[in-house]
């Protein structure tokens, strides 16, 4: 069984080595939004116009995110002579130049087989010819030595820019499913849990619970039926790590889920993906289908007696369904509302059975840990937070995109080295982590190491990985209101502090921002924030006031100014 898969991978590797020129075009959501669909079309048609068959001398590969989304659409070219170029902002004009520069000009182009009346291709051909003389492309080369890339440590994102997400052979060629084979052949479930525990991997969804411990709870339950669930319901504004991981390496998520299934004794798994991620859904679907065909999924996983059947459930658009108990209810076909814990899902989860729920990024880390060992993983990061964390770096920065950094890196390194600092004359003001559940970290705390505990001390959280950089042109009360708006919209309505409290917080913020506030309103705001934080039922409500509380902590004067303006403007001309 394994031999067959190995052969498949090797065959793919050999085939790739034969290809003269491989052009990788990013088709993740971010690059598609900046026009990579058109770029891809030109590239594919261009190859056709030049009469290269796809698997012959040149190959266009659709790939997932390469990280530097601010420079999208990204195109990478790899030729047989080992030269490797990454280009940014490739529109259809520049795509022609890429074709002109990199397509091998050999005799193939002289024996045209396309129909002579195909005017479009003829036109394209002459366009490519004309593009030979143009020089725009040199300015679009992105150096791999860019601090954006060189300061990252990539574990989850290691194959970005190389892997065809829709090809199982390609995944196999990149050591795919080797970790799964290893655990099935050489490890007992207990050893797998232990390995993950030793690695120090903690939940990447935000709460940071030790993954190995979670698996152990479910493994120890003496029940026949158990479930594993991949929580792919990422929804923080500005965060798109999980989407990207699913889009660029769906098999890796699947492999992680299967290892979790083996370790806990679950033979069914669910991937709960939000409906807003159609590309991720399609790619995961295809991955499941391909893996099933090759005997990786099903009644006998890789020829062993381990049974595993994953299925996809699509979320209906509620943020709160990322909360594990709400997610479980949603899979069960009920309204996605959180319930009180305990019992935790590891004792009583989906349909009352022990259930492990892991975030996409957590699962994507698992195959690497199994392959390279817990000690290797634990050597990265800090004492309490091991490994790397993927962040969606957005906001007022020169370089924005998806980054993977070791735990313990300082915010300063992320902002100034990887992100390239705040563009223009504006100054860095704050970094917002953890989305609507997180808080703002001011410039004075830029040297804080990024790990679970340090961020919590500052009143923020690690969260799932949204990292928004704010410059000094942004008003903090307004920024806090943006997140409060989000929480008001996304509260499920079950418990009163979250349902009514968030509306009251927003009303107070509205009042202050409109300049009608009194100084007492700030205390009132603080009081109700604490009330909502301390009495809400689930994580959404408990963390909803964080953006307000953290901005009150570090930027209180901005709130006070709002009141002062009102008093000042009471007189003539202020």
């Amino acid at each position: 069984m394994e031999e067959k898969l190995k052969a498949l991978g090797e065959k793919e590797l050999a085939r790739q080595a034969e290809v003269e020129c491989r052009i990788f075009c990013c088709t993740s959501t971010a690059c598609l939004a900046s026009g990579s669909g058109e770029t891809l079309q030109i590239l594919e048609q261009g190859v056709q116009a030049q009469n290269y068959s796809k698997d012959d001398f040149t190959e266009i590969v659709q790939i997932g995110c390469m990280g530097l989304c601010s420079q999208g659409p990204l195109v990478r070219v790899e030729t047989k002579d080992q030269s490797d170029f990454v280009y940014g902002q490739i529109d259809s004009e520049l795509a022609l130049q890429i074709l002109a520069k990199h397509l091998p000009t050999n005799s193939h182009s002289t024996t045209l087989v396309s129909k002579p009346d195909d005017a479009d291709l003829e036109q394209l051909r002459s366009n490519i010819k004309a593009a030979r003389k143009k020089r725009g492309l040199v300015h679009r080369i992105i150096s791999p030595d860019l601090p954006f890339f060189s300061n990252q440590i990539r574990i989850v994102l290691r194959e970005t820019g190389q892997l065809n997400p829709e090809s199982l052979p390609d995944y196999l060629a990149h050591n795919g499913y080797k970790a799964l084979y290893k655990v099935l052949q050489t490890m007992e479930p207990e050893q797998v849990c232990d390995e993950i525990l030793q690695s120090g991997l903690r939940g990447r969804g935000g709460a940071g619970f030790p993954t190995g411990q979670k698996w152990n709870f479910a493994r120890e339950a003496k029940v026949d039926t158990k479930y594993v669930i991949a929580n792919c319901d990422e929804g923080d504004p500005g965060a798109y790590m999980d989407r990207t991981i699913m889009e660029f390496n769906p098999h890796c998520v699947l492999e992680g889920l299967m290892i979790a299934g083996y370790a806990t004794g679950a033979s069914s798994g669910y991937l709960y993906i939000r409906a807003e991620y159609p590309i991720a859904i399609d790619r995961i679907k295809k991955a499941i289908r391909d893996a099933r065909r090759k005997g990786i999924i099903g009644k006998s996983v890789m020829g062993t007696d381990f049974i595993f059947n994953p299925d996809i459930r699509i979320g209906a658009g509620a943020f709160v369904c990322g909360e594990e108990t709400a997610l479980i209810r949603s899979i069960e076909g009920m309204r996605g509302m959180p319930r009180m814990r305990p019992p935790y899902p590891s004792t009583s989860g989906l349909w009352g059975k022990p259930t492990v729920i892991n975030n996409v990024e957590t699962l994507a880390n698992v195959p690497s840990i199994i392959q390279n060992g817990a000690r290797w993983y634990a050597s990265i990061g800090t004492e309490e937070s091991k490994g790397t964390k993927v962040f969606a770096l957005t906001g007022q920065l020169t370089n924005t995109g998806l980054i993977e950094v070791p735990m313990g890196i300082t915010l300063r390194e992320i902002v100034y080295e990887i992100g390239g600092g705040v563009p223009g004359k504006a100054e860095f003001k704050a970094a917002q982590t953890g989305g609507p559940s997180g808080g703002c970290i001011p410039a004075s705390h830029l040297d804080t190491p990024v790990d679970y505990e340090s961020l919590q001390e500052l009143g923020s959280i690690m969260g799932s990985g949204g990292l928004v950089i704010i410059d000094d042109t942004t008003s903090m009360p307004e920024f806090a209101r943006f997140f409060m708006d989000f929480c008001v919209d996304e509260s499920c309505g079950k418990c009163v502090p979250c349902r009514v409290g968030t509306v009251q917080i927003r009303a107070l913020l509205d009042k202050l921002i409109a300049g009608h506030g009194e100084i007492e309103d700030i205390d009132r705001l603080e009081r109700i924030c604490h009330l909502v934080k301390n009495t809400s039922l689930c994580g959404l409500g408990q963390s909803a006031p964080n953006p307000v509380l953290s901005t009150l902590r570090f930027f209180r004067e901005e709130y006070e100014d709002l009141v002062a303006t009102e008093i000042a403007s009471g007189g003539p001309d202020g």
Binding site: V320, G493, K494, C498, R499, V500, G501, T535
Partner: protein
């Protein structure tokens, strides 16, 4: 450590040592030991929701207060249900509730039996200290049994749970989300088009005026109503019913809450099928036919039964055919006639047909009377369900 009963645990609530079966929630443990904890969404017969956050308690060793309805008692747990911190917290929660709830208690029909009003009174919340923002204003009166006045709804979800867990109809659930969340039928269609069976159990468990019996609206304050307890006569289960009566008129019926019989629940007939009480056609005393009355000398006028069947007459008047008599007279006649029939034709000439609406005891007596009294086994029963 005392007796080691299997499955029992000992804990301390407000300094009082209590023993409860393991798996008991702290709220249940407290309530069963006469320690009252404020609660709105909790109902003893329903699953735990934990949405109202009123039942917060302090647990030693835990940093934050936690809700007691979802907290499982642990051996040696030391808890506190009343403190300055908890009072403040509950007060703030009530404050939030009333910021989204009209404070028109002076004209509200629920006043006096409204749980939110009760707690607002107990915690001294006169008005909200926040901004009053009422999330919903819809009033739905699409059926003859109850109204749904959404502005009073506090989204405790009791109605949803009773409909799902006790009745099994699942006619209503939460719709929309957050501040706009409301309780609705599928696609917010009329109640009659839903799977609702109009048992009204949702109305009974509703803590506020969001669900009210139509028959009760604008008919008096809760404290003016006389409560009359009785046993429902519709079937043999013997549900405990309490009628709320004012000026000899029934305003509504509700379960009297005997947990050993029907708890807080009733069926459609028990809850809404009492309007016959005041019906003009209702028989309230024994009647005998006019020809028999003349024969016995009760009336002077002779009377002959008409040849046409009374069934053929549209709305026959009772007085045209019958004369009211006392119970003594009526029973006397029945006894005499039964004795005559038995003597002349034997006991098997008589047959008894009992009703499903009688209780077991009544039906037992009925067959006993026929078997031992009359001497026949000709006893049957109308129910063929």
């Amino acid at each position: 450590m005392g007796d080691m009963e299997v499955g029992m645990i000992t804990l301390t609530i407000d300094g009082k040592t209590v023993r409860v079966p393991s798996g008991t929630s702290l709220l249940d443990a407290a309530l069963s030991h006469e320690i009252d904890i404020p609660r709105l969404c909790f109902h003893p017969e329903l699953s735990v929701s934990g949405g109202c956050r009123m039942c917060v308690v302090e647990v030693e060793g835990k940093e934050q207060p936690t809700v007691s309805c979802g907290l499982e008692c642990q051996e040696g747990m030391v808890t506190n249900t009343n403190s300055e911190q908890l009072t403040k917290m509950r007060k703030d929660i009530i404050d939030l509730f009333v910021s989204d709830h009209p404070l028109d208690c002076v004209t509200c029909d629920k006043a006096g039996s409204c749980l939110l009003q009760k707690y607002a009174y107990e915690y001294g919340v006169k008005e909200t200290s926040f901004t009053e923002i009422i999330s919903r204003s819809l009033l739905q009166d699409d059926n003859p049994f109850f109204i749904r006045d959404h502005k009073y709804c506090i989204l405790c979800g009791r109605c949803v749970r009773v409909c799902d867990e006790i009745v099994g109809a699942h006619a209503i659930d939460f719709a929309k989300r957050g501040f706009e969340a409301n309780i609705a039928t599928p696609f917010d269609g009329p109640m009659i088009d839903s799977s609702c069976v109009f048992c009204g159990n949702c109305v009974q468990v509703c803590p506020t005026a969001a669900l009210m019996p139509v028959s009760r609206i604008n008919r008096g304050r809760e404290w003016e109503l006389e409560r009359i307890s009785t046993v429902c006569g519709y079937c043999g289960v013997g549900c405990q019913i309490e009628y709320a009566v004012k000026d000899d008129e029934i305003l509504y019926a509700r379960s009297a809450g005997d947990p050993s019989v029907n708890g807080d629940f009733l069926c459609t007939k028990g809850r809404y099928g009492w309007d016959f009480v005041r019906n003009d056609d209702r028989l309230t005393q024994p009647l005998i036919r006019r020809d028999l009355a003349h024969e016995l000398g009760i009336t002077d006028e002779p009377w002959e039964a008409p040849t046409t069947s009374p069934l053929a007459v549209r709305r026959p008047k009772v007085d045209d055919y019958f004369v009211p008599v006392s119970w003594e007279t009526a029973i006397d006649i029945v006894c005499t006639r039964f004795a005559e029939v038995v003597e002349n034709h034997g006991p098997d000439a008589i047959m008894g047909l009992a009703s499903a609406r009688c209780t077991n005891e009544e039906n037992y007596l009925f067959q006993k009377f026929f078997r031992a009294g009359i001497g026949t086994n000709n006893v049957d029963h109308c129910a063929r369900l």
